[in-house]
Amino acid sequence: MRKRPYLAFFLIFFLASGLEATQTYILSYRAQVKNAVVISESFHLTESMKEVHAHPAQKLEINASNETDLQKILEKNRDEILEFLMKYGTHTRSHEKVFNNKSSSLVSITIPPTYITVDFKNDYAIITRLILQD
């Protein structure tokens, strides 16, 4: 019975450390543009299901006043986040067809699945891009 206080201490310690740990997410994006008009757009964000060995790279601070729901934050600041992530590698594919002097084009831009972490600090959400270690 004497061990109980120690167990409680360790339980509290692990719970606290779990709360403070930053969650890792995987983010990907794809947009298709046909004849200069966006026809489809997909934006995926999911929690990483396993621990990744990566080191932090670039950071982006977003004003997230009293908001902790990441989905809502991403919805509000989607352009800013996409511009930030596009800077570090955007896959571009283009198919253009000119048939009897009539042109049509299809361009798709893709941000490949990227690991990010999100921290909340003083009404700011700090998004950190991760680079996987070999």
């Binding site: 543009v33 200069a36 966006v38 352009d79 896959h91 571009t92 253009e96 048939f99 009897n100």
Partner: protein, 182 residues
């Protein structure tokens, strides 16, 4: 040289020996005034050193950049500027959505233009001619590239058309071998 030093040392010893009694005598109402003739010891001046180059700056040196900054013209950064254009779809719920979608289309177009310039375009074409008349003409172009470090410089939205100016800086030191092999 040694002789001069020895003479000067002897003279200074003599002077020091005579100085103390002279002071005492001087204090006692100066009965005997000892006049010491000045001794001039000539010491050859050291040979003048050549002027230090570091301290002197000539105007020509000032105009030239430091050695590390000297680069041949081929190592200057390559800057590629493109302007992508996008149009908002007709069925949009709000002007904000129209703007966002037009901007997205313009960004995609700008990325395509950058990819065309950096990676190149694959072109396939075919013409079908029958009885001396073109019946079918088709040209297909493909671009496939990954663009990194491109930055949006300016975004202009006017009359339903969005124009995005993008810039890409390429360091030839890093990419010269790849670009030169193409």
């Amino acid at each position: 040289m040694k002789k001069i030093l020895v003479i000067s040392a002897l003279l200074s010893a003599v002077l020091m020996a005579e100085e103390a009694p002279a002071q005492e005598v001087f204090e006692a109402d100066q009965p005997n005034v000892v006049v010491v003739e000045p001794v001039v010891v000539t010491v050859p001046a050291p040979a003048p050193e050549p002027a230090a180059h570091e301290g002197q700056v000539c105007p020509q040196d000032m105009q030239e950049p430091p050695h590390s900054a000297k680069r041949p013209d081929s190592y200057k950064k390559i800057r590629i500027n493109v302007t992508g254009q996008g149009v908002a779809p007709t069925m949009t719920s709000s002007p904000a959505q129209a703007y966002a979608l037009a901007k997205r289309a313009a960004i995609a177009d700008a990325y395509r233009l950058l990819a065309e310039k950096v990676k190149g375009v694959r072109i396939e074409g075919s013409d079908k001619i029958k009885n001396m008349m073109v019946q079918r003409s088709e040209v297909r172009t493909f671009v496939d590239a990954v663009i990194a470090e491109a930055e949006i410089i300016e975004t202009v939205f006017q009359d339903g058309l969005c124009e995005v100016e993008m810039e890409l800086n390429i360091d030839p030191k890093q990419w010269h071998s790849i670009l030169a092999s193409r």
